[in-house]
Symmetry: C2
Subunit: 114 residues, 2 copies
Amino acid sequence: MKESRVEYLTCPIRQVVAKFCDKWSLLVLYSLHASDTGVMRFTELHKHMDDCSQKMLSSTLKNLEKHNLISRKVYPVVPPKVEYSLTDNGKSLMPYIMGLIVWAKEHFEDVAVL
Amino acid sequence: MKESRVEYLTCPIRQVVAKFCDKWSLLVLYSLHASDTGVMRFTELHKHMDDCSQKMLSSTLKNLEKHNLISRKVYPVVPPKVEYSLTDNGKSLMPYIMGLIVWAKEHFEDVAVL
DNA sequence: TATTATACTTACTTTTTTGTTAGATTTGCT
DNA sequence: AGCAAATCTAACAAAAAAGTAAGTATAATA
């Protein structure tokens, strides 16, 4: 009596989970959203999340790009320069993400962290 | 130049991640939210998420309970009966979760799911 | 000539998460 | 006596995620 695999793939909740429910994605989205210019370079992002390894930041960025939430612009210079920013799609998501963040702040007391 | 561990713990984004950014939590929260009575038993939940093992459902429920998003009511009968429902805290979160779900439906096309 | 800067990738190890299967519990029904 | 029902837990294995350290590229600079 299992649902078909296809149904799983079209489930919006599972999509949300696949796209940005992980350890670092929300931090990246928030950082880009909160930045003045809306554009950040790799190292700049890394400074905002310095307990994230380069490897993890790199793969998180790739995932977000794959899901069309951020875009990546490469400048062919040396040393390399790469800029990340939210896509329109990513921007459209941010109000909901910010909703969660505000909720978390308001309900900080109701929480056992760890 | 690392931030202190304490700052990490008070970061609302990290709290959101710790509480319900995982494979099954959103499904559980949504199921409880969407149910007529607002109350569901273990087996009933399991039927809604039949690709989740009992073990994973059990540990997901524990985590949500620990974070005060759901409550667990045990009836001392045989066979056992346990009812799960959203706490007030959990209910206060649902509008934001639903926001994400609606967003995911609207942006279904913009997505590469795997 | 050696060093620096930036944005990674690769290889390897460790940790965490998830899956699988079996078992515990105990009352009532056949 | 034997089995079903409901809600788990335990033990072990497999898979996935994450951490760590080192390496790549190349032009400009000291």
